[in-house]
Symmetry: C2
């Protein structure tokens, strides 16, 4: 998606060969016009698939997932990274390693919010090693719900998780795929979509 | 707001005299139709105030803040509860105690995303002891930005933070205010708005 690539080129910061900072428009500060473009694109892609739920993980996926749920007019569900005192014990659980924070998280969704009749579209801001998305797929399958697709804003193509998931037959719709970043020249190479 | 009160009466769970569980429509699972009603109400309330940013705190405020930012067509900024490895050190910081998780958090906003020209509408799902909102007001004022108002979905009126903030002159627009909950009878008493 050209608009997203342009935002990345204009406002993104290549911090290293594998870390791209997009805090100014996608994460921490969120450009609502860009967000609408992304949500509309996923809506176009999946609108005939009878999506019943949008699933994401706190925190940075929530904004994207909210506007996507608004376009589809379906409930949004987000997996939590910690159990708060008022959560039930009736939970789907999956283990997820966070490369950003360098810790293992367990993620949770209350069993009341995913069921076997759900057609789930998973939404997240980044796909790199695929830990979060794999955890969300795992939760969805525990509920016997169907993973209809995965909508990702920025995929780090060089970290392969997107291609691995596609090879397993999943419909992964990334709106920008970065095949290479150079921490010296700051060059970003996008995959043709 | 009658619609929100009806959701609370129909789907909310009184877990104790001061804990209301709204996971099924506002938190974890989010009813997008209700979310739009809430965002539209805040838009009506603050649309003439030249709002330039919507500010919230991760994670449960983000969905509400996203649709509100969409209505206002302005950027959304969310304060973070932990420093990730790719955040800058150029941050506004405030201390916030979480009664849900029983820990002290420091919250952060990158200085690039709030400035003295901003008219900020703070959005959050709950107002109880006021820790999160007070922290967000603190961050906004560090940036010399103006706190135009505070939009809250559910205020626990019996915990007084809303009235304290109003007495300080802040425009706190809560869409449902609970003055009493009874863990035995499950009765919820709303304040007339």
């Amino acid at each position: 998606m050209k608009e997203l690539e342009n935002y990345i080129l204009k406002y993104g910061k290549v911090l290293s060969n594998d870390i791209l900072k997009v805090d100014s428009f996608l994460n921490q500060q969120i450009d609502i016009n860009l967000l609408e473009l992304l949500a509309s694109k996923w809506y176009q892609e999946f609108k005939d698939k009878n999506i019943t739920k949008i699933l994401t993980i706190e925190a940075s996926g929530i904004a994207l997932a909210t506007l996507t749920a608004y376009k589809f007019n379906v409930h949004l569900v987000f997996a939590k990274k910690s159990k708060s005192s008022n959560m039930s014990d009736n939970l789907y659980k999956a283990k997820v390693f966070s490369y950003t924070h360098h810790i293992n998280n367990e993620i949770y969704v209350d069993k009341a919010y995913l069921n076997e009749f759900d057609n789930v579209l998973i939404i997240d801001d980044f796909l790199a090693n695929g830990e979060a998305v794999t955890g969300l797929i795992n939760l969805t399958r525990q509920a016997n719900a169907k993973v209809v697709g995965v909508g990702i804003a920025i995929e780090k193509g060089f970290q392969k998780a997107g291609d691995i998931l596609r090879n397993k037959g999943l419909n992964v719709k990334s709106l920008a795929i970065i095949d290479k970043m150079d921490e010296i020249t700051k060059e970003i190479v996008f995959r043709e979509l």
